[in-house]
């Protein structure tokens, strides 16, 4: 991870944000991300993100649960320790349905939440660079990555014209690190000059 330069434009209305996203993309700038206080529907498509396949992961976890539960109970009752319960069959499928269902749901839900946290790098004590403190309150924060060719002043005035209420440039780390929010911490330490 290295520090990168970003131009940050803050919008206060999603009706201004959408046309701005369109203009910025048409002008050929690379949108790093848009930070919003709530899920703005359609924004993911507008900035060119693909659909998430989290639900596929959920399905795979679910059928794993089904298999473990049915296989496990079947093995216990037919192979490991067959019991005669009221003369009923050793593999009573209807009586296995409740536990099979519950295990399916349990594995699917737990697996999906863990996958979600892994993909979004969410965990206790994880810290990231936040471009604007009001991004979780009432501002829609569009972050554009600067390349060597980007003319920062042009881009800033471009964002201002597109309706941004606040524009600035930030040098930021894109990754996450272990840290606390009550302390100033960064991932990359400033290296001491070699004498």
């Amino acid at each position: 991870m290295a520090k990168k330069k970003f131009v940050v434009g803050c919008f206060d209305d999603e009706n201004v944000l959408f046309p701005a996203v369109k203009k910025v993309r048409l002008a050929g700038y690379k949108i790093h991300d848009v930070y919003t206080p709530y899920p703005v529907h359609g924004l993911d498509h507008a900035i060119g993100l693909r659909e998430t396949s989290l639900h596929t992961a959920g399905f795979i976890y679910g059928i794993t649960g089904t298999t473990i539960a049915l296989g496990g109970m079947g093995w216990v009752f037919t192979a490991d320790w067959p019991l005669n319960i009221g003369g009923k069959p050793h593999f009573p499928l209807p009586a296995f349905i409740p536990i099979t269902f519950e295990t399916t749901v349990l594995l699917s839900a737990v697996g999906m939440v863990l996958t979600f946290c892994y993909l979004c790098q969410l965990a206790p004590f994880i810290k990231k660079h936040h471009f604007h403190p009001r991004a979780t309150d009432d501002l829609f924060v569009m972050v554009i990555e600067c390349t060597s060719k980007t003319n920062i002043e042009d881009l800033q005035s471009f964002l201002g014209n597109a309706g941004a209420v606040e524009v600035n440039t930030q040098l930021a780390e894109t990754g996450w690190w272990i840290g606390r929010y009550d302390k100033e911490q960064t991932l990359i330490r400033e290296e001491l000059p070699v004498v």
Binding site: P37, W81, L83, E102, V113, C120, T136
Partner: protein
């Protein structure tokens, strides 16, 4: 230009007043950042006192055994399982609101889901206590867990409804907790970013998991909550179905009926919504959240209460009819001598149940009553008293006169420690709820912002400007 403006005559706004996004954050985060009032401390200490009495009652039960309770040979379940089923039932409204109403796109859920889910989690925590301590030798509780062990291995009986209960309740608790917490992460992020004190920055920083509000993360969170809702919907129905199997798969007259699963699920939603009403009516008043939990929300929940109350009423009458129609003398005895009989020892419980659950909610057919806060408050408590009696009637009246008349004649009433245990779970529930209302955003901040423009008053002002625009120009601007 009336073409551009469509305002529903039926739906009232879900957020009252002209709120901006920042106002929403302010209103909901203010109670967290302010010192709690005197009432909060009084309520909290009463709850903790109840909890301590509950802990003492459980201590007596563990040290001296189940003999501390009045349960006996015929009435083996008594207050304990009554309270278990009652609390599980209450724990159904949260997931119903958050999951089923999400799938049905009922946006009014956004104002109430957070508190309702919290209530669900606390209620399931309370419910779980009863079967665990009812084991007597509670240190053997891990025997219910299926794992390869050195005791044979001895496996639990997977075909037993009591085993299904273990799986159902623990799954329900876990999934509700995950659903609730994944929704809380963005709101913790909001509180973290506006925190003024060091401690708040640290604690909400940890709790927010480093949430940034990235579009990709929101997309994944939306997908996650939709799939979790899809999973939780059959789950919520399965949990009380399985609880009803504890009764329905037995051969006890009055329990052995196929109507139990739908009847229990309807009853659970009924009592759960009543508990949500009780809590939210107080919460919205004390925390000043009347603009977000509006009279419209209260009315919507009262409609669910009258619907499910009537379903429960139908189930009661169906049971009576089926007992008569079966011509089975044991069924007849359970229903017409032990229950629906003024002169039987527990007739009073049956008629209290009938009045509280079937007759009293019918008042909500009147719009004026549905929108009256005092009536709602009173009725929500009556309904939960009634639902407690329902479980008491089912358990005790079927058990106290069993197949062997020589063991009759014992009138079951609880000891102080049985009551104490029940009061203790109230203590646990309200202690948790008081802490929740102080330290957690009781309304989902992000979800309210999501519906603000479609239903808030501030949106209407912008529509007025549109009215003045000529149609041609508007259409042109929108297309391009």
């Amino acid at each position: 230009m009336s073409l551009l403006k469509y305002e529903s005559q039926l739906r009232e706004p879900l957020v009252d007043g002209t709120k901006t996004y920042h106002d929403v954050t302010e209103d909901i985060c203010r109670p967290i950042e302010a010192k709690p009032g005197k009432l909060w401390y009084i309520g909290f200490f009463i709850s903790v006192a109840l909890l301590l009495f509950g802990i003492y009652s459980v201590y007596r039960e563990v040290v001296y055994g189940i003999g501390q309770w009045n349960v006996n040979h015929t009435v083996g379940w008594g207050w304990d399982i009554t309270n278990f089923v009652w609390w599980v039932g209450i724990g159904h409204a949260g997931t119903l609101i958050s999951a089923i109403l999400l799938l049905f796109r009922q946006t009014w859920r956004n104002g109430v889901n957070r508190a309702a889910e919290a209530m669900t989690i606390f209620a399931v925590m309370c419910a779980g206590q009863f079967p665990i301590w009812h084991m007597g030798r509670v240190w053997m509780a891990f025997f219910t867990m299926p794992y390869p062990n050195t005791r044979g291995p001895v496996w639990p009986n997977f075909a037993s409804p009591l085993m299904w209960d273990v799986f159902a309740i623990s799954t329900y608790f876990t999934v509700s907790l995950l659903f609730w917490y994944s929704g809380l992460i963005p709101d913790f992020g909001t509180i973290r970013d506006r925190a003024k004190t060091k401690f708040r920055k640290l604690s909400y920083g940890i709790a927010s998991f480093g949430w940034s509000g990235s579009t990709k993360h929101w997309q994944r969170l939306e997908s996650l909550s939709l799939v979790l809702a899809g999973l939780a919907t059959p789950l919520v129905l399965s949990v009380h179905t399985i609880v009803s199997f504890d009764f329905a798969t037995s051969v006890i007259p009055g329990w052995h009926t196929t109507i139990f699963p739908p009847y229990f699920v309807a009853g659970a939603i009924f009592s759960g919504f009543a508990m949500v009403q009780t809590l939210l009516l107080i919460t919205r008043k004390v925390l000043g959240l009347e603009s977000y939990i509006t009279i419209g929300h209260i009315e919507a929940m009262n409609k669910v209460i009258v619907l499910t109350g009537s379903i429960v009423g139908c189930a009661y009458l169906t049971e009576l009819f089926m007992a008569f129609y079966s011509q089975n003398q044991y069924e007849n005895y359970a229903f017409f001598y032990s229950r629906a009989n003024f002169f039987s020892p527990y007739g009073w419980a049956y008629y209290s149940m009938m009045f509280c659950n079937v007759v009293s909610p019918q008042i909500f057919w009147f719009r004026k009553m549905r929108r009256n806060l005092w009536v709602t408050m009173f009725l929500s408590i009556v309904v939960n008293v009634g639902m407690w009696f329902e479980r008491f009637v089912i358990i005790v009246t079927s058990l106290f006169r069993d197949y062997l008349p020589s063991s009759w004649g014992y009138y079951y009433s609880p000891t102080i420690y049985e009551v104490g245990f029940y009061l203790g779970t109230f203590g646990l529930f309200f202690t948790c709820y008081f802490l929740f209302s102080k330290y957690f955003p009781v309304i989902a901040v992000a979800e309210i912002k999501q519906i603000l423009k479609v239903s808030g008053e501030s949106y209407k002002d912008k529509m007025d400007k549109l009215e003045e625009e000529p149609v041609e120009e508007f259409a042109h601007a929108t297309v391009h």
